[in-house]
């Protein structure tokens, strides 16, 4: 039942992007997202799209796979576009019943659609080429300065990585409990909203109890293996920048500079 969520799930293969330090990819993705708002012209978007195309090529992830993931959020994209299309005030160019399309709206909607698509594609390139573990490691490393202001950086990263590990387990469990309750005559397909919410109780209560039991067990198992927070821990897979990561940072910098130049020129 949860099979349809493929958006941005790690795609196992070997490529330059896969081998890049996750911190570079994280910083790069942020830089790219910002650049989408920096450039504000057709040539600018062309540049951003071109950059993305090169990244997709470098990632070795089949384009079809990436697009298939996009399908799930197509709906969201259409809604946003429609909102912008019909709800932006300005010069009316087309009218039907209560819907009024304006020139400004059309302009804005097209821009928004391009921006959103690039944004989603751009960030999914990161998640497609980076395992969740690497991602949390990168986050922990990049947020380290925040430790000085007492943000529990290590704990946050640990929590994220445990959550990621248990999501598939809890999904499987949901499926099992659901089947068991269906066997007891439960009806999860009711269209009536109140009935639907009520029917969730026999699913959610056991699920929460199980989650708490697992959390309890896991805490004990971690303690038994000498876990006592981030203090004094070493790393099995420490993050170390290599020369290709430096090159990647340089390319990013150039791209970003080009975006700013675009903004000034056009």
């Amino acid at each position: 039942m949860f099979d349809s969520i493929t958006l941005g799930q790690y795609y196992q293969t070997d490529s330059v992007l896969h081998r890049l330090d996750p911190r570079v990819k994280l910083v790069g993705t942020f830089a790219y997202l910002i650049s989408l708002f920096v450039v504000d012209s057709l040539p600018g978007y062309l540049l951003a799209a071109l950059f993305l195309a090169v990244m997709i090529k470098l990632s070795n992830v089949p384009f079809r796979y990436i697009v298939r993931g996009m399908k799930t959020i197509l709906f969201l994209l259409i809604i946003t576009v429609c909102f912008n299309l019909f709800l932006t005030p300005g010069e009316v160019i087309w009218e039907f019943w209560i819907f009024k399309m304006t020139r400004e709206g059309l302009n804005f909607a097209i821009k928004m659609a391009i921006r959103l698509s690039l944004l989603i594609l751009g960030s999914s390139i990161m998640t497609l080429t980076t395992t969740p573990t690497q991602l949390t490691d990168a986050l922990e490393s990049l947020m380290r300065p925040l430790k000085k202001v007492r943000v529990p950086v290590h704990e946050i990263a640990m929590m994220m990585s445990i959550a990621l590990r248990f999501i598939p387990i809890l999904m499987e469990e949901t499926d099992k409990i659901m089947k068991a309750q269906i066997a007891r005559g439960a009806d999860f397909e009711s269209r009536n909203l109140i009935k639907k919410i009520k029917s969730m109780v026999p699913l959610l209560v056991p699920l929460f109890i199980s989650a708490f039991r697992r959390a309890n067990d896991l805490a004990m198992a971690m303690e038994a293996r000498c876990y006592r927070g981030g203090e004094g821990r070493t790393k099995m897979k420490p993050l170390v920048y290599s020369s290709k990561d430096r090159v990647a940072y340089l390319i990013l910098l150039l791209f970003f500079a080009a975006c700013i130049a675009m903004r000034i020129l056009f």
């Binding site: 469990e173 099992k176 409990i177 089947k179 068991a180 309750q181 269906i182 066997a183 007891r184 005559g185 439960a186 009806d187 109780v201 026999p202 209560v205 056991p206 109890i209 199980s210």
Partner: protein, 285 residues
């Protein structure tokens, strides 16, 4: 009432690279009032098979007839099937959710549209059938011991008045005492309620002494389907499937190999002892 399974197959992840044929052309008939053991190791298809029987999984190929009616037919009432063919999942205590034991057991009957009084009546009967101490009817299901929780969960399915009860690994995770209690309880329910019971297990020792018939599954196929002693004659083949015959079968087989002419078709220690003592003259004791 009877179930006729006609050449069914079930595919997981159909039409993808990960397609798995969990059931591979299985045909079998399950009559009224029979005690059946369904044996197979993890991944043999036994859990998938029992889920198709009450319509939780829809077969990919083939048909299942319940009292002569195709359960995938358009007019077929699946809800009725699910109440008639009760399915107790592995670790059933994980599905308990109500504030007290009695309300939890009432959940199924209420889903079938019974009034509160009716539901309570059948729930009380079910709790009695599983020998739940009366004092615990109003306690939270989460305060019960492991074995009691499991009995409460079985009562939850029993309260739907099924004609057939399928139990998937009912002894998993229990200690020897809990295991013997549950198995004894199931055997007694069989006698008292005259229903068909299918006991799914990977342990021959658990089922051998209780059931009338054993079905062995492996690789999605039904490999053996016979009375217990006849199935256990295939000791070697069962081993290859990662299963084992009851321990007594091994002992008697070894004695026979060593030249003692005993009948190996025995299922429990008492019969084995009697059989050996009948050959007392041939022993070197």
């Amino acid at each position: 009432m009877a179930i006729k399974v006609d050449d069914i197959s079930y595919l997981y992840e159909r039409d993808t690279a990960m397609q798995v044929r969990a059931l591979d052309h299985v045909s079998v008939e399950i009559p009224d009032n029979q005690f059946i053991g369904l044996i197979g190791h993890t991944g043999s298809g036994k859990s998938t098979f029992v889920q198709t029987l009450n319509g939780l999984l829809k077969v990919t190929e083939g048909h299942i007839y319940y009292n002569g009616e195709d359960i995938d037919g358009e007019k077929f009432d699946k809800k009725k099937l699910r109440s008639d063919v009760g399915l107790v999942f592995q670790y059933p205590e994980h599905q308990l959710f109500e504030v007290d034991v009695l309300s939890d057991v009432c959940y199924g009957p209420k889903n079938l549209g019974m009034s509160d009084e009716e539901a309570k009546k059948v729930a009380l009967e079910a709790l009695e059938s599983v020998k739940m101490p009366k004092a615990l009817y109003k306690s939270s299901p989460f305060d019960l011991s492991g074995g009691q929780k499991r009995r409460a969960a079985i009562a939850g399915v029993l309260a739907m008045k099924p004609r057939m009860l399928i139990l998937d690994e009912p002894t998993a995770g229990l200690d020897p005492r809990g295991r013997d209690e549950i198995l004894g309880l199931i055997a007694e329910m069989k006698r008292a309620l005259n229903m068909t019971i299918i006991l799914v297990s990977h342990s021959m020792d658990d089922v051998a002494r209780y059931v009338d018939r054993i079905m062995v599954m492996g690789g999605g196929k039904l490999l053996y389907d016979d009375e217990p002693v006849k199935v256990f004659r295939h000791v070697r083949e069962l081993e290859e499937l990662g299963l084992s015959a009851p321990q007594v079968t091994y002992i008697m087989t070894l004695l026979k190999e060593r030249g003692l002419d005993v009948n190996t078709d025995v299922l429990n220690v008492k019969d084995a002892a009697a059989e050996i003592l009948a050959h007392r003259r041939e022993l070197h004791v």
